[in-house]
Structures are given as structure tokens and as C-alpha cells.
């Protein structure tokens, strides 16, 4: 046991003290945050240039009233189009907006014409279209003799409020689904990336030891299984460390960035939401606050430990497979692709099942995906924010644990043969033979 601990320590310390670990741990969250800051800037960017637009409203649909939009100033004129065009050329105005009369009060479409040297930007254009649409609606309502207030009361915004059947069930709010999907996807992505990043780290380490022949010296002092397990656990500890650092660093950096640059991440998120879906800014802020409350109200006492369990087991399960494959690869790196592909396929399938699971967390696809051991480390964590029956979680964990033990044992049997064999063409057929070699 002491030897196992020595190996775990070495595998952990050599990686954690390396420059690449420090760089990737600090740079990755920083890179993400800088990315968001830049996006925030771009979305929130407004042209400061003032534009003067003159409106020709022959049919007087607007009633000589047009709200100025940010830095676009409107004015009305009865002059004819050619005169106004000349005024645009001479710089008095930036553009002429011509609103022809309506064909009929019941026509659903209307066209307006904007004459300018440079056209309006996307935002301004869409705002103008909306504003014109509103004003024409008002005009129509008046002309048709309809009461504006009555018409507005027709529109009803429906929100679905989920209610529990029994008192013991949790009362969810309408944002639970959205928040759950978001969080679930994040957890699924973390699992997916961990398997790849740390799993392949184990594989590369096994290959390096085999190629540099240090493995022969090592297994004259320790059993191959100890070496493999020590490596898996050591690298896993590195992964956990990195995850923990990120969980602390990312909030810290956000706070610092907010303080330094005076950028409010809430506002940024609101901006992006607005730009993406043209939501009213006030609505967006309300949505964000509701989402945050939702996040807080989740059952973190269950979610966090469960996530940790799936993270650890999923990682160990997959990295043991990577170790077994790594022991079979010789100098031919081309072999590595054909051998690692079968391991990556279940990971990718699990990833896609996860996407379906967050949208329908109680569907049979989601349930089976959380029970089958190769998929469960990715699928189940994404469902944890939804009300998953405890028996499902327990069963899933039990199956995963048993499978992990089995796979680690199996990988050990392949590993102990593979690391000593050089020059043999590695294939899954070969690996199967190695499982049965006598010690």
C-alpha cells in the first residue's frame, strides 16, 4: 500500500508542479472570461454618431410624431423627394424616410423607403421597423374605430407553473426546466471534457513509460497493477485539483473584472439575451434574477456529492480503458487512433443522450442513459437538477461502481502484458488474449 501511495504522490506532484499545469489552470478561466468580456463589448457597442432623418409621410400615418431613437433624430417635411435627396447630399440630413400610404386598412404588410448614402445599422433598422409598425397599428385602430386599450387586453401572456401532486414533492417554478437544462449541460460538458483530457493524459503517460523503458525498472519494484492504479489515481487527483481551482478562480475573476472594468456581468448577460431574442431589457433582468434564485434553491446537498461521485467513477472507468490501450501502443502512434476510437465512441454517444435528457429528463432514453455504466457518468449528472427518483440514482451509482471495479481489474490484466511486449502489432484481438495470460 505504501508503494501505491508513493506512485500516486509522484504522478500527482510531477504534474501539478509543471509549468503546463499552472498555465492551463490559470489561462483557461481567464480565456473564457476575456471571451465573454469581448462579446459583451461587441454586443453592447453603440455607434455614437448622430443621425438626422427626415420623414415624408404623405398619408400622415404617423401624425407628425416619431420618437427619437438613441442617436437618430427624426423630423417631418412636406418638401418633395428630389429636394430632400439633395439635402442629404449636402449633408443637412443623413437620410430620407418615405412612408407611402396604405393600400387598405386591412393589409398586413407595409413598405417604407429609406434613401441614404449609408444605410442604417441592423439595430437601428429593426427598431425603426418596430416603431413604424406600432404607429401604423395605432393609425389603423383609430381609423377602424377600435379601442386601443381593449385591443391590448386581448393579448394574454401565459406562463406554465408546475405544481406537485403530493406534499413531499418539490414545488418547482417555471424556470426550473430552463435552469436545469443549462446546469445539466454544463455538468455533462465537464464530464465529457474530463474524460478526454485526463483520460488521454493517463494514456500518454503509460506510453511514455513503455517507450522510455522506465517501466521495466518500475515493475521490478512494484506490481504492474499498482503502477497503473497509482497513475490513474494520481492523474485523477490532478483533475480534481484543477476543477477545484477553477470553481474558486472563476467567481473570483468575475468579481475582479466587474470591479475593475465596471462591467456588470448581469447587464452583459441581459444584453446578450436581448440581442439574441429581442427581449425587453427589464424582462431580461427579471429573467436573470429568477434564474439565479432558481439555481440557489436547488438541492445542492444531493447534487454536488453525486456529481463528485460520477466525476470520480466516470474518470476512473474511462482512464483505465485508456491505460490498457496505452500499454498496447508501441512506437507507432498511428496505431493509437484505431485503438482509442472505440473508447471515445461511448463518450460521444453519452454526450448526445445528455442533450436529449436535459430536455426530457424523465423519458426512457434519459433513464436508460443514466443507468448504463458507460453513459451514466455523463447523463446522470445532467439530470440531477431535475427530480430524479432516489432509487434511480442509487441503482445507477451501484451499477457504475461495480462496472468501474470490473473494468479496472480487466485493464490491469491487459496492462501487465502490454507494457512488456514490444513490436507486437496491437489490436483488440491481441488485447483480448492478454486478459487470459497467466501471471
Amino acid at each position: 500500500m505504501d508503494k501505491l501511495w508513493l506512485i500516486i504522490k509522484r504522478e500527482y506532484l510531477t504534474r501539478v508542479k509543471s509549468k503546463s499545469f499552472l498555465l492551463s489552470t490559470i489561462l483557461t478561466p481567464l480565456a473564457f472570461l476575456i471571451f465573454f468580456v469581448i462579446i459583451g463589448f461587441i454586443i453592447g457597442y453603440e455607434s455614437k454618431e448622430n443621425q438626422k432623418v427626415v420623414i415624408v409621410d404623405k398619408a400622415n400615418l404617423l401624425n407628425k410624431v416619431m420618437k427619437d431613437d438613441k442617436n437618430i433624430y427624426y423630423s417631418f417635411s412636406d418638401k418633395n423627394l428630389d429636394e430632400l435627396k439633395k439635402e442629404v447630399e449636402s449633408g443637412n440630413y443623413n437620410g430620407v424616410l418615405v412612408i407611402p400610404g396604405l393600400d387598405s386598412l386591412l393589409s398586413k404588410k407595409a413598405k417604407a423607403y429609406y434613401y441614404a448614402k449609408t444605410q442604417l445599422g441592423l439595430d437601428a433598422q429593426s427598431n425603426l421597423e418596430n416603431e413604424l409598425g406600432d404607429k401604423i397599428s395605432e393609425y389603423k385602430m383609430e381609423k377602424l374605430g377600435l379601442d386601443k386599450k381593449m385591443l391590448e387586453s386581448i393579448k394574454t401572456e401565459v406562463s406554465l407553473d408546475p405544481e406537485p401532486i403530493s406534499a413531499s414533492q418539490k414545488d418547482e417554478s417555471s424556470s426550473t426546466a430552463a435552469v436545469g437544462a443549462g446546469l445539466g449541460t454544463v455538468m455533462g460538458i465537464i464530464m465529457y471534457m474530463s474524460v478526454f483530457i485526463y483520460g488521454t493524459m493517463v494514456m500518454r503517460s503509460v506510453m511514455e513509460e513503455k517507450m522510455s523503458r522506465i517501466v521495466e525498472v518500475m515493475i521490478s519494484s512494484v506490481k504492474p497493477f499498482q503502477l497503473m492504479l497509482g497513475k490513474i489515481l494520481g492523474v485523477g487527483a490532478v483533475g480534481l485539483t484543477q476543477l477545484l481551482i477553477w470553481m474558486i478562480l472563476i467567481p473570483l475573476i468575475s468579481i475582479t473584472v466587474t470591479a475593475f472594468f465596471g462591467i456588470n456581468p448581469h447587464e452583459m448577460q441581459a444584453h446578450s439575451a436581448m440581442a439574441a431574442q429581442s427581449i425587453d431589457p427589464d424582462d431580461a433582468k427579471v429573467m436573470i434574477t429568477r434564474m439565479l434564485t432558481e439555481v440557489w434553491s436547488l438541492n445542492w446537498w444531493l447534487i454536488l456529492p453525486s456529481f463528485l461521485f460520477y466525476f470520480i467513477c466516470g474518470y476512473i472507468l474511462y482512464s483505465s480503458l485508456f491505460a490498457a490501450v496505452g500499454s498496447a501502443i508501441g512506437d507507432d502512434l498511428g496505431e493509437s487512433q484505431s485503438l482509442t476510437l472505440p473508447i471515445t465512441i461511448p463518450v460521444i454517444i453519452g454526450f448526445y443522450i445528455m442533450f436529449a435528457a436535459v430536455r426530457a429528463p424523465q423519458s426512457s432514453l434519459a433513464v436508460w442513459g443514466s443507468l448504463i455504466p458507460l453513459f451514466s457518468p455523463i447523463v446522470m449528472p445532467s439530470r440531477l437538477v431535475f427530480d430524479v427518483p432516489v432509487w434511480q440514482i442509487a441503482l445507477s451509482m451501484f451499477i457504475l461502481l461495480a462496472t468501474t471495479f470490473f473494468f479496472v481489474w480487466l485493464a490491469g490484466r491487459i496492462y501487465r502484458v502490454g507494457i512488456l511486449l514490444y513490436g507486437k502489432k496491437a489490436s483488440y484481438k491481441e488485447l483480448k488474449k492478454w486478459m487470459f495470460y497467466k501471471d
Binding site: 508513493l6 509522484r10 510531477t14 522510455s212 523503458r213 522506465i214 521495466e216 525498472v217 519494484s221 512488456l420
Partner: protein, 299 residues
């Protein structure tokens, strides 16, 4: 008593018999040569002795006990391919390897300092292994092999790539260890090294033990009564009476006599013939000769 006893060991890989009922004994305080052509089964045997693999049948006794995991702390192994964690610092790596052999942290550091001072390589301690030259790496590897004061050492081509000075350094250490009672198994293709260093040898061919014993005794056993006579003067006709002439030029005669008696008679005859003998010695077969003749089935 023999420190290491190999008894009827058999090891088969995938239907090929790599080690075929091999038996031999390695005494205390001996340098024991493990010889054989490529693919003869030496590596398989070494792996069994170092507990990397287990025999299919037969047994290995380590100081009278059946060879087990716990004995690895008393065995030092230097494989032919030098192996290191390239990016690790030399000092750290040696401590790691020593601790895996059961040394405490303090003992490991102490021993490392001792050897580094003895070899005058203290300033390598903080260097990464990949920054050392091949010869330097080999010296460090030798240290890692003996740092835990093993009772049995297996060296596979330990001198390859070393310049004469470093080779000499290592050889001296090996001799010192032998005097301290350590059993050393020395595997090599360099036959001249075997003659210089080994006390006993075993020759493995196609998985079988084809020859073993004391080096001098073996040379005596396979001697061909080859003699070399240098002289001043003229030799009369008739040398052929005493044996087969291998070479006779420039007052240098190499002759294969039928027996030691014939050699004596030859000398007497030459002296009586007025020849002045300047030197006379028996040419014993080299281990290389014996090796080749044995493997080719000639003896």
C-alpha cells in the same frame, strides 16, 4: 550455500518455450555471467529472477526461500535499455526509485549523497535526466540499481556506451560489491568482458542450459592443447610429429598438440636441437570460441 537457485524453470509464451527446464546456482559473492545468443531466453529468465514474471513450473529460491514480492527490496536490476522519467530531476528520481525499494526518505537521501560524492557528480543532482549525456545517464542508473544495498544484482550490458574511464569506475564498484558478498548476475555479449570479470558462467541456448561452471574450469575442459612457442634459432624438420601446426612464421609457432605430454616432448626436442626458447605458453580457448562452438553444436 548458493544465494540464488534456479530449479527446472519453464516459461512458455504463446506456444513458444522460452525457458526450457533451466537449472543453475549463483553463489554468494560471485560475478556470474549469463550468456547466450539473441532470443535464447536470457531476458525471460531475467524477468523471472526479478519477479516481473512468474515461471510456469519449477522454482526459484532466494537465499533458501521461495522467491516472493518481498525479495524485490533485495534485488537490483539494470535493464539493457536505459529507462528514465526524462523530465524528472535526477535527485528526485533516485529518491523515488529508492523508496519504491523500501528505503525511507532519509536513508534514500543519505545513500544518494554518498554515491554522488563518491562518483563526484554532485552537481548533477538538480538536473533533468534528459539533460544528461548517455554515459552520464548510465552512471546514474547504476547508482539507482545499487542504492538500496541489494544482495542480488542483475546487470544487463552495463558497460555499453561507457568510455573506458567510466567503464573502469563501474567495474571497480562491481568488484567491491562482490567482495562484500553480493551476488552479481552479469549478462552480456562482450565475451572479453566475461573473461575478465566473471567467476562463473551459464550459457543458455534455445531456452536450455547448455553449459555452466567456473570460467577457468570450463576453459580447461575445452582446451585443445594449443601451445605457443617463441624461439631464437632454427628449427629442424619434424615439428609435425608433435601435433597439428596452426601457424609457424617468424620464429613463432602455434601448434595443436595431442596432449600435454607431447607439448613437453616438443620443447625437449627443440631445446636439444639447439633452439633457444624465449616463451612457451598454453593458449586456452576463449569463452567466445567455446560459446560459438557450443552453439554450433561442435562441442
Amino acid at each position: 550455500m548458493s544465494f540464488l537457485q534456479i530449479k527446472e524453470v519453464v516459461k512458455t509464451y504463446d506456444k513458444k518455450v522460452a525457458v526450457d527446464h533451466v537449472s543453475f546456482d549463483v553463489p554468494d559473492g560471485t560475478i556470474y555471467g549469463l550468456l547466450g545468443p539473441n532470443g535464447a531466453g536470457k531476458t525471460s529468465l531475467i524477468r523471472i529472477i526479478t519477479t516481473i514474471t512468474r515461471p510456469d513450473s519449477g522454482e526459484v529460491l532466494f537465499n533458501g526461500e521461495k522467491l516472493a514480492e518481498k525479495h524485490t527490496s533485495f534485488i537490483g536490476y539494470m535493464p539493457e535499455e536505459r529507462g528514465f522519467y526524462k523530465k524528472m530531476k535526477v535527485g528526485e528520481q533516485l529518491v523515488y526509485l529508492a523508496r519504491l525499494k523500501g528505503l525511507s526518505l532519509a536513508d534514500a537521501k543519505q545513500n544518494i549523497n554518498y554515491w554522488f560524492e563518491k562518483f563526484e557528480i554532485m552537481d548533477w543532482m538538480g538536473k533533468k535526466v534528459q539533460d544528461l549525456s548517455k554515459g552520464m545517464q548510465q552512471k546514474v542508473q547504476f547508482i539507482s540499481t545499487i542504492i538500496h544495498k541489494p544482495k542480488l544484482i542483475i546487470l544487463d550490458e552495463p558497460f555499453s556506451g561507457l568510455d573506458p574511464i567510466n567503464a573502469n569506475l563501474i567495474e571497480n564498484e562491481i568488484q567491491l560489491l562482490k567482495q562484500q558478498g553480493v551476488s552479481i548476475i552479469f549478462s552480456t555479449h562482450r565475451m572479453e568482458q566475461v573473461e575478465e570479470i566473471c567467476d562463473q558462467i551459464v550459457l543458455i541456448n534455445q531456452g536450455k542450459n547448455v553449459l555452466e561452471g567456473d570460467v577457468k574450469e570450463i576453459k580447461n575442459k575445452y582446451k585443445e592443447h594449443l601451445y605457443n612457442v617463441r624461439y631464437v634459432g632454427d628449427v629442424k624438420e619434424g615439428v609435425e610429429k608433435f601435433g597439428k601446426i596452426r601457424e609457424h612464421l617468424n620464429n613463432n609457432l602455434i601448434i595443436n598438440c595431442d596432449s600435454a605430454q607431447h607439448a613437453n616432448d616438443l620443447l625437449k626436442w627443440m631445446i636439444q636441437g639447439g633452439v633457444q626458447i624465449t616463451s612457451f605458453n598454453e593458449i586456452l580457448p576463449t569463452i567466445s570460441d567455446i560459446f560459438i562452438r557450443k552453439v554450433e553444436g561442435k562441442i
